[in-house]
Structure formats: C-alpha cells, structure tokens
Subunit: 369 residues, 2 copies
C-alpha cells in the first residue's frame, strides 16, 4: 500500500487523522496549497513549508503540456524537479481540460482537445492520465473523471457519471507504480441519487481514497453546504476523503464538519497576489487607502513571516509600487492562514469542541466586501 | 562620526577595507544590491542577506514620491519599514530626477520636475535631499548633484560641476543627523581637468566619503575604464570611494583595480527578472531551448540557494510558464554571483594576487550574446 490512513479522533461527522504517504505523514483535515506549474505561485518550497503546508497539489494538465511529464520523469520526478520533499497529490487533468482547453471532444475513449498554450491537438485518456501522474511520481494520483458544469441536464450528468465510473476502473487497471495511491472521484452534480450510485460503484472498486468532484463548478455555496454531509457519508469511513477545488474558509469548515479530510484551492495564493488577505476578522484589502500609514501587522497574533516582520503600510506600499514582494508576502500569509485554520480545526476535533470552534470562528468573521 | 573606514590591504591601486556604519560593518570592495522602492525586487531581506549582501541601496527619488519619506520616518525609518537590519546607502535622487521625471527645470536653488508617477509638480533642493534621507534614516546619504549626459557640451558640464559643488556645500550645512554619513559626488564628465577641479573643491569640504558620478549615463565602457584610474586617484586615500550605478562584472573589476570600494547596479536583479544569469563562464540565457532538459544547476560550484536546489531545466520551465519564482531564483543567484565576485576580489587583494585574479577571471568569461 502506497498510503495508510488512521483516524485518531471524531467529533460528530468531523474527523482528525493521519495520512501516511511515501514522502511523509500528513495530519488531517489538511489544506493543500496549489502548485499548478510545479511551483506554488510566488513562494519557495521553504516558504510553503514554513507556512505550515504538509502536502501540496500539482496539476497534471499543466505539467503534461509544459514542461512535459516525460521530461519531469527524466529529471527525477516532480518532487526533485520543484524541490519539494513532502507529499504531493496530482489531479488527473480532467477538470482543466474541461475548463481551460478549447474544442474539447469527449468519447468513451477519452477527451480530445486543443492545448490552451500552443493550440496543439491532444488527447487525455484514463490510461494516459495514470501514465502522466506516474511519470510525475506524486504520492497520490487522481483518476480521470468527466466533470460537467453544475447546471448540466440530467442526461448529461448521468452519462458523465457512467463514463467517470468506467474511466476510474480503467485507471485502476492501468496503474503500475506501487508507491502511488490512486483516488477515485465521485461525480453526479446536484442529484443525490446519482451521487449515491456513483459512490456505490466506485466504492466497490476499493480505491485507497475518494474525492468529491464537481463542487467548484458554479453552484451556489449554500447548495454545496446542503449537499456535503450526505455526499461525504457515501464515502468509506476508513479512507481519506478529498473535496476537490474548495474553497473559502467557511467552505472548509462545512467540509470538515461533513467529514472531509483533504482540501485544495487557489484562493490563498490567487487572492494574495491581488492584495486580498485573510484574517480571523475577515478579508483585508491591502490596496485600500486606510492601510497607507497603518503600522500594525496584517493580522495581529499571526506568527507567519509576513506578520512577524512587516506592517500593513509596507504591504500597501508594495502593491501600490507593483513590487513582486507584495504578492509573495500576502500569499505566504494566506497559505499560513489556511493551514492555521486546519490546525485549529484538528485541535478542536481532538478535544471535542469542533462545533463551538466553528460557531465562534464564523461569528467573528466579517466580510465587508 | 557616523562611519569609519579602515584600509586593511592594498594591491596596486586596489584596496580592501572595513567600513563601519551604525547598522554594521561592511567589507570592501563591496557591491550594493539596489532596493529602489524599499525592496530588492523579488527577494526577501533574508534572501538578500543569504546571497552575501552586507549593505543595500535605497532610492531617495522613488521613496520620497511613494510612499513618502515622512511616512517612512513615522513608521520607524527605512530599515524597519523594509525589514533590513544591515547598512543602507541612499542616493540623493538627483540622477532619477534627470532620468525619470519630466519637465525638469534646474536653477541654482534646485530642480523642479513633474513626478513620473502622478504628474505632481515637485522640487528637489540640496536641503530637501538631505531632509528626505534623514527621514529615511540611511547609514550613508548622498549629496544632491547635477548629472548631465555624457555627451553634454563643455559649458553645460562646467555649469553642472559648479552647481554640484555649491549644492554639496549646502547639503553639508543642512545635515542634522549625527548617525548618518554624507558622501560628496564628483562630476565633470569626460573632462579630466573638470573632474580634478570638482574633486579638489569637494575634498576641501572634508566629506567622510566620495563618489564618482556620471559614469553610467551613456558613455562607452572603454571610455569609463580609461578614465577610472585617474578619477579614483583624485579621491582621498583614507576615505571610502563609491562608483555610482556601475555595472557589469568587468566594470567592477576595473573599478576595484582603480581603487574603488563601493558599487551599486540594477543589473543582477533586472537581468535576473529577464532570465539572464551570470556565471563564471559568462552570461546564460535561461529562456534558450538548450536548457529545456538540462539537469545541471545554473552555475556548477555555486553554493547559492538557486544553484543548490534547482536545475537549469526547472528555471527554463519557470520562465516559459511565466512563474514568479523564476525571476526570484535567478535574481537571487545573480546577487550571490556579484557578491561572490566581491569576496573573491577581497581575498585576491589581501593575498597580493589581484592582477592574476582579474586576468584569470576575464580570460574565462565568454559573452556569446
């Protein structure tokens, strides 16, 4: 087994556990910073680590297109290529094909599409998705799935689920590496019965971990919050559960409450690059003139490198002057913020205070945007 | 005295010494990375320090315009604002007024100009230049000088020198802080007699350090190389000598050979952001396809963070993918490269091998650009 998963604590449906991978142990629930193109944007791996990251995500679609998965394999794999010695999860590339590529044609065989970089005609099949991820050498790989938009019609959803199940089985058959765990992805949109059917089929295939897909593709957050408990409950209790591409701090709390263990999202880094910082009191927009002379750190009490060493006035200046250090420092803080949230959630679960923690957390949060 | 300067070794006209400032001791000859807008572009102060930097430069013109020198003063000074605890030298802003601002009008009183940021009409006088730098709280401040282009006619050069001398004296009179050293700047373009006259007048005013200005404003490198020995010799032996805004590695070696102690230039960081790296074998252009699969570090034998952890293939990928980490890593290497050059030069001077060092260094350097 490439991975093992041990549940340590439960608090309602929320769980705290340990996920052991070939590149180290991860405490769950955990947030995975996104390193799309073999770098967490604007941060060195040491900064990512210092922010509390235990596992990061890499994007199969982007890396297969550029620099190419064979190249990364020949250079010793993704860990070595990007100088990250900890665990890595790679997605399957399916979501990016549907969201970034053009002229996408899906058949049972796979997805044909044009590269968003150079217009090359390419094909992603379940077998190729596994091959790419084995070349990258991630600790956890994802099966290729079909991810229709949230408002797709029932027939389309049904077809996507059937294809997702068949593709998952083909990925499983094609797997060669014993040091990489392959997770399945449950689709089914907003249809509980479709989700249940998809989960049932995939659980029968006995994957070492399961993800919920299709929850960051345009639905209202409230819909997702309402659907998550039932969806998470469809997944095996003893295996890690991953909610793909989600989300805001509140979404992570709802996910954890529903029994999710793994999360990823570009929000901390993307928002950081745009001068939007997360704090326990809500978001802070550092371009606002009110910060121009503010000697206080971005978030009082935060021990991250940014908050320990710089004022809001300095961060405001960096963004006004369009200096690279601004995006770097605020990305760093935001990643640290997300990982502190996970740490606090784990502690709350371990001590049976998770509900109080969530209520207190959200009562303090003010979003004036 | 805010600073003291001790000469330790001589080798021909080259010298190695120690410059003691309120924020620490600097080994000379030294290169100062440029932190124009209160940040060395793309690098944290820790990265700048790890690259071997002992003193950095801040730009008075930029900082006075944005975020403003009073704001920086109110927040505890430039060191604290930007989280750099080592020595800082600030220029006077004169060079930037002449090169960046528009509608510049110079009188004996000072320079009137329009801000390149928001078009505000502003004035920089010798007194204001000192005031700004005292607000910033740098260890070494520069007098306001008039810096005409290299091809200015003799009358213009003569007038600029006369004004530069008068302005230097006014700066000296206006100085209030005892923890900041004020350096004078010798102008005079390509006219040896004018340079000599300017130096004579300024030396009579007994500044704690002297700079050569006007050597990065369009003249051919060969002209500068030819002029430097005589120009450096005009400056007091016992005081630090600073060649402003210069330059390429070969220019630094010629400068050191002429007896210069301090240098600054944007080349290591600007080139680094553009994927151009310095190595002992000459420049390396990391966007070139030849690096796409190259597992070697940027420069073999270099101990900097970039070379210790990343391949040329990875750096090539980062620039192809327009990832921020590319400019950061190559800037880091280039700054480390410049500071290694200084370290090697100091050792060569201390052991009486400087000429052999320069010859060996330049014989190896290949610029295929």
């Amino acid at each position: 087994m490439a991975i093992s998963f041990t549940l340590l604590h439960r608090d309602g449906a929320a769980r705290a556990g340990l996920l052991t991978t070939p590149h180290g142990v991860v405490e769950t629930p955990i947030f995975m910073p996104v390193g799309t193109q073999a770098t967490v944007k604007g941060l060195t791996p040491e900064m990512v680590r210092a922010a509390g990251a235990q596992i990061i995500l890499g994007n199969t679609y982007h890396l297969a297109l550029r620099p190419g998965d064979e190249l990364i394999r020949d250079l010793g794999g993704l860990h070595r290529f990007m100088n990250w010695s900890g665990p890595i999860l790679t997605d399957s590339g399916g979501f990016q094909v549907f969201s970034l590529a053009s002229q996408v044609k899906i058949t049972d065989h796979g997805a044909k599409f044009k590269s968003h970089i150079d217009g090359r005609l390419l094909e992603l099949t379940p077998e190729r998705a596994v091959e790419i991820q084995e070349n990258l050498g991630s600790d956890i790989a994802m099966v290729l799935d079909e991810c229709p938009p949230a408002d797709a019609d029932p027939a389309r959803l049904q077809a996507a689920v059937e294809r997702t199940i068949k593709w998952a089985a083909r990925c499983q058959v094609h797997q060669r590496r014993s040091d990489q765990a392959l997770f399945a992805i449950v689709q089914g949109g907003r249809d509980p019965q479709l989700r249940a059917a998809c989960a049932r089929e995939l659980v029968a295939l006995d994957f070492p971990g399961y993800a919920l897909g299709g929850f960051s593709v345009g639905e209202a957050p409230e819909e997702m919050h309402a659907a998550l408990p039932a969806c998470a409950a469809l997944l095996p209790e003893a295996k890690p559960r991953y909610l793909m591409g989600v989300g805001r701090p509140v979404d992570l709390l709802v996910g954890i409450a529903a029994g999710i263990d793994l999360f990823d999202c570009v929000m901390p880094t993307r928002n950081g690059r745009n001068a939007l910082a997360f704090t326990a009191d809500g978001p802070v927009r550092l371009r606002n003139a009110q910060h121009r002379r503010d000697p206080r750190p971005l978030e009082s009490g935060c021990t991250c490198y940014c908050c320990a060493n710089y004022s809001r006035a300095y961060l405001h200046h960096l963004f006004a002057a369009e200096e690279m250090l601004g995006p770097t420092l605020v990305s760093m803080h935001n990643v640290a913020f997300y990982l502190r949230l996970m740490r606090e959630a784990r502690t709350a679960i371990a001590t049976g205070r998770f509900t109080v923690f969530v209520a207190t957390y959200l009562a303090r949060w003010k979003d004036d945007s």
